[in-house]
């Protein structure tokens, strides 16, 4: 298969199960909602060292937010259920509570799995906090120097998918970056998906563990490192001099698959040799995103043998 002269490899991206929350931050204007969201999602590229993965999902118009103000939707994922509330609480407590004019709302109100977020954060109010029930949902009002901070008592928890990916193999570093930027732009704002790395792009794709340093959880993926072509078992075709990776986390398989479809299509530009994906032979995770199936329009859930039980 090729798209505009770019080969789509017959392989799959291998992803794993995560736990996620959607955090809605509203503020006086988009500038302050974004300030808060940028801080909340800072240092949250990979669970390998950041304990969570988070990024802005999309900008929300005033008509889409609970309080009718401009907002930003953020998705945050962890590897397990227990750590999700910890990460959400510490990040909201330090980056949304502290930010002028913001309020914070649950973006998964229909989820039956609930995690207490506003409830523990209310103790910042030192007994001066007050609760309000609106439409059967409890909110906490925390008095702060600016005025009041408002937050949902509980947030919804969802089973998500982490580690969807594709690799752009290009003739030059500039061509790889142009292609990756186009892919990120095309995927921006797609619902249910985030790209947690800087600008949505990874230059240091990794393999599990390391050959030399046994304590390393992850190390460089030498098979795709062009400077090591001559001394390793390379995966790089002749003419490829740079590789960039796009990593996607999402609330479900279909959201990621649709984003990959859009992103890969946009990535197929002049100077790109091929598109491939990272997998570990099926050992890492139960979600398999087959590139050629996705680019043929099949973005539905994985067949049974590829889905988690």
């Amino acid at each position: 298969m090729d798209i505009r002269g770019v080969q789509i490899d017959d392989t799959f991206a291998e992803a794993f199960g995560m736990r996620g929350a959607r955090i809605i931050i509203t503020a006086k204007n988009e500038k302050w909602a974004r300030e808060s969201a940028n801080k909340l999602t800072g240092f949250a590229t990979s669970v390998i060292a950041c304990k969570c993965e988070a990024a802005i999902e999309r900008v929300l118009a005033p008509g889409e937010t609970p309080d009718g103000r401009p907002g930003i939707s953020v998705l945050l994922f962890t590897m397990d259920s227990d750590s999700l509330p910890k990460r959400v609480i510490e990040r909201i407590g330090q980056t949304v509570l502290t930010c002028p004019t913001t309020a914070c709302f649950d973006g998964l109100p229909d989820s039956p799995d609930r995690i207490a977020i506003g409830k523990p954060l209310r103790t910042f109010g030192d007994g001066f906090q007050a609760s309000k029930m609106v439409d059967g949902v409890r909110y906490w009002r925390l008095p702060v120097m600016e005025g009041e901070f408002l937050i949902h008592e509980t947030f919804g928890k969802a089973k998500g998918v982490g580690g969807g990916n594709f690799l752009i193999l290009a003739e030059s570093a500039d061509a790889a970056l142009d292609s990756a930027e186009a892919a990120v732009d095309a995927m921006a704002g797609m619902p249910g998906v985030i790209l947690p790395f800087p600008g949505g792009i990874v230059r240091s794709g990794s393999k599990v563990g390391a050959k030399k340093y046994k304590t390393m959880i992850a190390s460089t993926n030498e098979a795709f490192a062009p400077t090591l072509r001559a001394i390793t078992k390379t995966e790089l075709p002749i003419g490829v001099n740079s590789v960039l990776e796009i990593v996607l986390d999402g609330l479900d398989f279909r959201s990621i698959a649709k984003a990959m479809q859009v992103g890969i299509d946009a990535a197929c530009r002049t100077g790109v040799h091929s598109i491939t994906a990272g997998n570990y032979g099926g050992k890492l995770g139960p979600y398999h995103f087959h590139l050629r199936k996705i680019m043929s329009g099949d973005v539905e859930d994985a067949p049974k043998q590829d889905a988690p039980t």
Partner: protein, 272 residues
């Protein structure tokens, strides 16, 4: 089975009747004949519902009441589900102790509307008497949940001793929110004297103006973030017209009642 049950008053009421039997969840499983034989009460004397109302429809959870029912009390008492639509006006204690469902009144209602209700909603197009959303005589708590919307005026002691829920009124008489434990009273227009006396944790929102009692103290002028949620919810669920100026405007916050624990508030909207 019908899509609704219609009770049409065929004999004008000259005396007050108590009609706790008229509630959608009580009528939902009954035939027309069974509904006609339900008892209304003239003091201690039972009267068959069919002697006063013509019944059409059966086994439905939507009930319509037609005619001048201003002498008919206790309709919808303790109802927990279904929809009650009152085409005219109604007497006292409509929806008292109701736990769920929906009541809509095109006209006005008497005293004790939604007294001690715990859930559901009551919307009145006209005005209501005293103690809307208030407490049973001698009881410590008024309404503990649900929503009451009065587009016209409410009488004295609206929301007295309310514990939870929201009461929205076009205007209220004196002593609104007296002994309020918590919950919300939102008033679009005039507010009578002595509002919120004895308020513990309740929120009283004045969108037009208010004489703040001396046992409240001014705290600050700010934008209460929860208020836009509440007003947007009222707009979405009950079609209440809410100005953007009220949604995102500034409010003076007064803490009180300081003769109580002082965790309640009066929020007074400020014209820009």
């Amino acid at each position: 089975m019908s899509d609704r049950i219609t009770l049409t008053l065929h004999t004008p009421l000259v005396r007050r009747l108590s009609a706790p039997a008229i509630a959608p969840d009580r009528l939902a499983g009954l035939s027309s004949q069974e509904i006609s034989s339900l008892e209304l009460w003239d003091g201690r004397t039972p009267i068959a519902l069919g002697d006063v109302f013509a019944v059409s429809g059966e086994r439905a959870s939507v009930v319509e009441l037609e005619g001048d029912c201003t002498q008919l009390d206790d309709v919808g008492t303790t109802m927990s589900a279904g929809s009650l639509e009152i085409k005219g006006s109604i007497g006292n204690a409509l929806g008292a102790r109701m736990r769920g469902g929906r009541i809509a009144v095109q006209g006005s209602a008497g005293h004790d509307l939604g007294m001690a209700m715990a859930g559901g909603s009551i919307v009145v197009g006209g005005s209501v008497g005293d103690r809307a959303g208030g407490a049973m005589p001698g009881a410590s708590k008024g309404m503990t949940g649900g929503d009451v919307v009065v587009r016209g005026s409410a009488g004295r002691e609206a929301g007295a001793r309310m514990r939870r829920g929201t009461l929205y009124c076009g205007s209220v008489g004196e002593n609104a929110g007296i002994g309020m434990i918590a919950g919300n009273i939102i008033v679009a227009g005039a507010i009578g004297s002595e509002v919120g006396v004895g308020n513990k944790r309740g929120s009283i929102v004045a969108l037009y103006g208010v004489d703040v009692p001396p046992t409240y103290a001014y705290a600050c002028t700010y934008r209460p973030p929860h208020l836009s949620l509440m007003l947007l919810s009222l707009r979405a669920r009950f079609g209440i017209g809410v100005d953007d100026a009220h949604l995102h405007g500034l409010y003076k916050r007064y803490s009180g009642d300081l003769a109580e624990i002082g965790k309640g508030e009066i929020l007074e909207w400020q014209m820009a």
